[in-house]
């Protein structure tokens, strides 16, 4: 059940210059949250920022949820200045959870802060699946959460665009179709910038047997299916709502070009 709750900030730490990790005491959301889901967070409690902002649930313990976010504009800038002890309005959990998997080989493919939702997914999958993480960022500083993820993964491939850590290049350069085929990978989950998702979809056209899912984003109004603001087109040309039909979609089903501005 979707609820709103007043959540106290436990910490709001910077992980790099522009990336923050915020833990919130949000027991009702935490109790129900599942990988794939997200929350809508009000930036301030007045109406100076009218629309709440969507963030993936990056981690979830008994009473707490954590989000990991990049400062990209005015809302996230103000969010980064909010202090422990302060109260934020949280609406959630939103979106469709990813079904539970068992005894599967799963590739997680992350670009930049796209690692956030995969962190939660990895922690759940690690119990009875094998995880292969492919994770790239611009620089070493932006490769976050690596220490948390390492123990959860059977294999971890890291890359930076400037070569400051791991392999040099974009992460997709290192995800080879031969590897996926030989390892008999069952599922791929990808989260990152739109061009990454598009390239991944193109690259995997030669492996139609492997389901590949992407975490999609659009500007949202309500986050819960009321306003029809967050459409993504299916390949048949109909709109689905990212907030209630997703945010995780089979990349074979949706037309990613409909998300271009």
């Amino acid at each position: 059940m979707i609820i709103t709750e007043k959540a106290q900030i436990i910490f709001n730490n910077s992980l790099s210059e522009e990336i923050y990790s915020m833990k919130l005491n949000s027991p009702h959301v935490a109790k129900q949250a599942k990988p794939g889901q997200f929350v809508m967070i009000r930036i301030t409690n007045d109406y100076s920022f009218i629309l709440p902002r969507p963030f993936a649930i990056a981690d979830c313990t008994k009473n707490m949820i954590r989000i990991v976010y990049r400062v990209v504009g005015k809302g996230t800038k103000v969010l980064s200045t909010r202090k422990p002890g302060e109260i934020l309005n949280v609406l959630g959990p939103l979106g469709k959870p990813i079904p539970k998997l068992k005894n599967k080989k799963v590739v997680l493919c992350a670009g930049g802060v796209g690692i956030a939702p995969l962190r939660f997914l990895a922690s759940k999958l690690a119990k009875n699946n094998e995880i292969f993480l492919y994770y790239g960022a611009k620089t070493k500083k932006e490769l976050i959460l690596v220490n948390e993820l390492k123990p959860l993964c059977r294999k971890m491939v890291l890359a930076t665009e400037d070569g400051s850590y791991g392999k040099k290049g974009v992460i997709l350069d290192f995800l080879s179709p031969d590897f996926l085929r030989n390892q008999k990978i069952n599922y791929i989950f990808a989260s990152g910038p739109l061009p990454m998702l598009k390239n991944l979809e193109l690259k995997l056209q030669i492996l139609p047997e492997i389901p590949v899912y992407g975490f999609l984003e659009a500007k949202m109004g309500c986050g819960c299916g009321l306003c029809y603001c967050c459409g993504v087109k299916t390949r048949e040309g109909k709109y689905l709502r990212i907030c209630t039909d997703g945010p995780v979609f089979s990349l074979k089903k949706v037309d990613l070009s409909s998300l271009n501005k």
């Binding site: 979707i2 709103t4 009000r42 109406y47 100076s48 920022f49 009218i50 629309l51 709440p52 809302g75 309005n89 609406l91 659009a218 500007k219 949202m220 109004g221 309500c222 819960c224 299916g225 009321l226 306003c227 029809y228 603001c229 967050c230 459409g231 993504v232 040309g237 109909k238 709109y239 409909s258 998300l259 501005k261």
Partner: protein, 278 residues
């Protein structure tokens, strides 16, 4: 807090505004506590809506260009309406035709017992052979309201506009032709540009401005009409708190519609109701 207008009883003056609470099949715990819900606009054919982005935040306001995405009247009746039969409040369907005929077809299709009434969306920018909104033309308002009135005995709301017209004139036209209430101010015209790309931000290029930014103007329009016309008014535009509701009632509205506030928090209606009861 009960409000009675014509044959309808509203358990409180709060309605959920069209386009901001879906089709009435979600958050039933909120809907059932309200005086009523007005669905997203329904058209004859299914409409896909505009490309994204469909929403943009402005100071104290929201610009939207959803573009009337909806399943069309047939699918609405077969897949959504059966789910709404158990609603414990007044259900209004917002209808958006692109000609007088289309409005009458929609009204005829919706002359069914589940529904308390219709809200005629006269501020829909898709009317054939016209660059203007129907609600900017008193003669067209008269024609559409009269035609719909002939097809239905349901409670009839005319949703007017305050864009480039004195809504007093169109309110008069709506009342003279059988509207039981008028609803306004709907959104105001708006556009926003991305200075980096030098292009409009919204996928639909222009949009409708709503939220607290339009509240004083909305209050003015309602007050202005109330001075001259004795018609039930559903007021809306930026309602976020119980105090906002009180202001609309003071300006002369009998009922109010919460719009953008539902996007900020889908439980806002319940919160406002609780504050009003205290």
């Amino acid at each position: 807090m009960t409000v009675i207008i014509k044959n309808l009883t509203f358990k409180n003056p709060l309605l959920l505004a069209s386009g901001t609470f879906g089709l009435g099949d979600k958050f039933l715990g909120v809907i059932n506590k309200m005086g009523g819900i007005i669905t997203k606009g329904i058209t004859i054919e299914e409409r896909l809506g505009n490309p994204i982005p469909r929403i943009f935040e402005t100071p104290s306001g929201i610009l939207n260009s959803v573009g009337l995405e909806n399943p069309g009247i047939k699918k609405f009746k077969t897949t959504i309406l059966p789910k709404l039969t158990k609603l414990q409040t007044n259900l209004f369907i917002n209808i958006a035709g692109s000609s007088v005929d289309e409005f009458t077809i929609l009204a005829t299709e919706l002359d069914v017992p589940e529904i308390a009434g219709l809200e005629i969306n006269l501020s829909c920018p898709n009317i054939k052979n016209s660059q203007r909104l129907p609600a900017q033309n008193p003669r067209l308002v008269a024609k559409i309201v009269a035609a719909v009135r002939k097809k239905t005995s349901k409670f009839l709301i005319a949703k007017l506009t305050a864009n480039f017209i004195d809504p007093l004139i169109t309110a008069q036209a709506a009342v003279d032709n059988g509207a039981d209430a008028i609803s306004l101010i709907n959104t105001l015209y708006g556009i926003a540009f991305d200075v980096k790309t030098r292009k409009p931000i919204l996928g639909g290029i222009t949009g409708g401005l709503s939220g607290p930014a339009i509240k004083p103007f909305a209050l003015y329009c309602i007050w202005h009409i109330r001075q001259k016309l004795d018609v039930p008014i559903i007021g809306g535009g930026g309602i976020m708190t119980a105090n906002d509701v009180k202001e609309f009632l003071l300006a002369g509205a009998q009922l109010v519609a919460i719009g953008s506030g539902n996007l900020v928090d889908p439980f806002l209606g319940l919160k406002i109701l609780k504050e009003l009861e205290e």
